[in-house]
Amino acid sequence: MLLDQATRILVQGITGREASAMTEDMLAYGTPILAGVTPGKGGQQVCGVNVFDTIAEAQASQRCTASIVSVPAPSVLDAASEAIAHGITLLLIMTERVPRLDTARLLCRARAAGCTVIGPNTLGLIRPGIAKMGTIGGRIDNVRQSFKPGRVAVLSRSGGMTTEIASFLSSRGIGQSIAIGVGGDPMIGADFCDLVDQLENDPSTDAVVIYGEPGGFAEERLAERLIHKPSRLRINAFLSGRFVDELEGVRFGHAAVIVERGRGSVRGKITALKKAGVFVADTFDEIITGLPA
C-alpha cells in the first residue's frame, strides 16, 4: 500500500532547512531515503544522504520509486515534472499554496505516467512501524507515541488532525495500517475516493477513518463512489467546521475551506456520507465507534 520497505525514496529540495530536519526524522524512523536533489548542490550530503543536481543523475545509481517535493511553490510544477519523467510512481508534494493551474498540469503528467500524487499541502503519510514520508507526526519520539501499527487507515484533510486522530486511536488500543494527510490546497491529487479505491485491495486494512472539512466535494465524491460500489471496509467519518455553514464566503484554515453558494457545506457532506452507509461521528470521540482493535 503506497509505502513499504521496498519503496526507494528521494527528497527534492533536501538541502532546505525544513527538508533536512525532516530527512533526519524519516531516517530515524527507518525510512529508506536513498537520494536528495537540489540543483546546484550536487556532491553535498544531508544526514549521510547523497545530494545530486538532477534526478537523472540520482536515478543512475539509486532507481528511486517515490519522491518528496519540498521546494517553493513556483518551482513545484518543474520539480514534479522532473520526478514523473524519471519513473517516480509516488509523489508527495509538501509545498502549500501551489497555483491550481500548476497542480492540474502536473496531475495530467502524473496520470499519463501512472504516478500517484499526494498533496500539495500535505504533511505526508506514515505506515506505523514501517516508514514515513514527510514531517507527519513531527519529531521521532512524538511519531512513536502517536502512531501504532494496526489495521485502521486514517485519511485526513488536515495534517495536524491526522496525528491527533492516530494518537486518539492508539490511546484506545486501535492501531493504524496507514495514515495520510491528503493535502489542504483547493486542488489535490489523490482524494478520499481514490485512496479508498486503493485501500479496498490492501490486505492490511480493515477500516478507514476519514477527517473532512467544509469546502470542495471530496466527501461527496466518496459518498457517490460508495453508493455505486459498496466497500468491504468499515468507514467512519468525522467532519469539523459545522459552524462554517453559517458563514458563507468566509475562508478558514486551509485554502480549500470555504462554503460558497451553498456548496461544500458540512451539512451536505454529512447527509451524503450517511446515505452512502458511512458512520458519521457527531463528536470527535465517537470516531472509534465499531472499529476493530
Binding site: A104, G160, S171, S240
Partner: protein, 398 residues
C-alpha cells in the same frame, strides 16, 4: 481574487474577446456626459465584487443623458452587502435575439479545466436545464481548440454564423483562463445580435490567489484591486489580530473571526480549530472568537494575541487547545499565553480554563504551567473532552 466587471472586460478584451464599448464613471454628472456621447438608450451598472447584480437593482436602463444622471445617482447611493458603489459603467443598450453563456472553471473531480456553453444565458443561467448546457474538460497545457467549441455549439442546436463565433470565443476564453491563472472566467450574457454577431455584455473573472505573484504585470494596468471577503467587513479586533500575526513571519497566531460570546479561544492548528470551535458550541459554550495558531509562532505573537483576545470586553476565560503538535512548541505557547494573560491584567490560573497542547516540548510546558498554578491536560484528554471541560469551567466563572 475577484475582479470588478470593468477590470474583467479589460483583461478579456486583451485576448480579442468581443465586448460592447463601456465607459467608467465616478459620478452622476459623468454618467450624464457618457450617455450623451453614446447617443440613445444606455445601461448603467454598479461595479460590485459579487454576482446577481440584476436581482438587486444594480443594473438599470436609462433613456438619454438626463435619465442616465438620475439613474446613476440612485446607483451611487446604494451600499449592497456593505459595499458602497464607487464606480458605474455606462454602455449602449444592445438589442439581441438571444442570451448565451460561456464560462471556464475547474472541474474538481477531473482536476481539469472545463469549458461551459449554455443557450440559457443571462441572470438565471444557474437554472438552465441539462439540454441547454454543454460542458467539456480540456488540456490545461493547450486550452480548447475552436473546433471543439463549434461542436459544443452544434450539440446545443446553434446554427449559422453563431457556430463559428462560439468556436472563436471559447478558444480565446480558455486561453485567457490559462494565462490569467483563472478560477473562473465567464461572459454572461454573451449576446447574439440580429445579424448573428456575438458581443459580451458582462464578464466575471476570478484569479487564483496563489498565482497572483506571477500576474503582477498583467494586473498592474487595472489599478487597485480591492479584495473583498464575501462576508462582512473585518471588525477592529480582527484587524488588530491581523497586525499581530504580521509582526513577524514565524508561524501563525491569528486568522481571528470575532463572535459575541464570553469564552476566548486560543486554538490550533487549522483542522483542530474547526473541531474545537464546533465542540465548544455543542457543549453550550459561547465563543468570543475563532482563531488559528500553528507553525510554531513566536512567544511575543502568542502573548500579544492572548492579550487581545482576553482583553475584549465581556470575556471571562481563555481556553488554550491544540491538536498533538508536530512543530509548534508547547512550551513557547505556554510562556506566551501566561505572559499575555498577565498583560491583560489577569491572573493566569484564574483566566486560563484549560491548557491542552500535547506533543513537542510538552514536559517543559507542563513545568511552566505548574509554576503558574495551572494543570496542563495531556493527549489522553481528547479535543472533545478538553472543549467540554473549558465550557464547564467557564460556566462556573459566570
Amino acid at each position: 481574487m475577484r475582479l470588478l466587471e470593468h477590470q474583467a472586460k479589460r483583461l478579456l478584451g486583451g485576448f480579442g474577446l468581443p465586448f460592447s464599448p463601456s465607459m467608467l464613471v465616478t459620478s452622476a454628472v459623468q454618467a450624464e456626459r457618457a450617455a450623451a456621447s453614446l447617443n440613445g438608450s444606455v445601461v448603467l451598472k454598479a461595479q460590485l465584487p459579487f454576482g446577481g447584480r440584476g436581482h438587486i437593482g444594480a443594473v438599470l436602463f436609462a433613456d438619454g443623458p438626463h435619465d442616465a444622471r438620475e439613474v446613476a445617482s440612485r446607483l451611487f447611493a446604494m451600499e449592497p452587502r456593505g459595499c458602497p458603489v464607487r464606480l458605474v459603467t455606462v454602455e449602449p443598450r444592445v438589442t439581441f435575439t438571444r442570451e448565451l453563456y460561456v464560462g471556464v472553471a475547474w472541474d474538481g473531480a477531473a482536476r481539469l479545466p472545463v469549458a461551459i456553453l449554455s443557450t440559457a444565458g443571462g441572470i438565471d443561467v444557474e437554472r438552465a436545464g441539462e439540454t441547454e448546457v454543454a460542458r467539456i474538460t480540456f488540456d490545461p497545457f493547450t486550452g480548447l481548440r475552436a473546433f471543439q467549441g463549434r461542436q459544443m455549439a452544434r450539440s446545443l442546436g446553434l446554427t449559422g454564423r453563431t457556430v463559428a463565433g462560439i468556436g472563436a470565443v471559447l478558444e480565446k476564453l480558455t486561453a485567457a483562463f490559462l494565462q490569467l491563472d483563472g478560477v473562473t472566467t465567464e461572459i454572461n450574457p454573451l449576446a447574439e445580435t440580429t445579424d448573428q454577431a456575438l458581443v459580451g455584455l458582462d464578464a466575471h473573472v476570478e484569479i487564483d490567489d496563489d498565482a497572483v505573484y506571477r500576474l503582477k504585470e498583467r494586473l498592474a494596468p487595472l489599478g487597485a484591486i480591492e479584495t473583498h471577503s464575501a462576508g462582512r467587513a473585518p471588525t477592529a479586533l480582527e484587524v488588530d489580530a491581523q497586525r499581530i500575526d504580521a509582526m513577524d513571519h514565524r508561524g501563525v497566531a491569528g486568522r481571528v473571526v470575532e463572535f459575541d460570546g464570553d469564552l476566548a479561544l486560543l486554538i490550533g492548528g487549522g483542522g483542530a480549530s474547526l473541531t474545537v470551535f464546533d465542540a465548544i458550541r455543542r457543549y453550550g459554550g459561547r465563543p468570543a472568537n475563532y482563531c488559528e495558531v500553528g507553525g510554531n509562532p513566536t512567544e511575543e505573537k502568542v502573548a500579544a494575541l492572548t492579550e487581545l483576545l482576553l482583553g475584549k470586553p465581556g470575556v471571562t476565560k481563555l481556553a488554550v487547545i491544540m491538536n498533538v503538535v508536530n512543530n509548534t512548541r508547547a512550551d513557547v505557547m505556554a510562556r506566551g499565553a501566561i505572559e499575555g494573560v498577565k498583560r491583560a491584567g489577569r491572573v493566569p490560573k484564574e483566566a486560563i480554563s484549560v491548557f491542552r497542547i500535547p506533543g513537542s516540548w510538552e514536559p517543559e510546558a507542563r513545568a511552566i504551567l505548574a509554576e503558574a498554578g495551572i494543570e496542563a491536560l495531556g493527549r489522553e484528554v481528547s479535543l472533545d473532552a478538553a472543549a467540554r471541560l473549558a465550557v464547564q469551567r467557564s460556566h462556573h466563572a459566570a
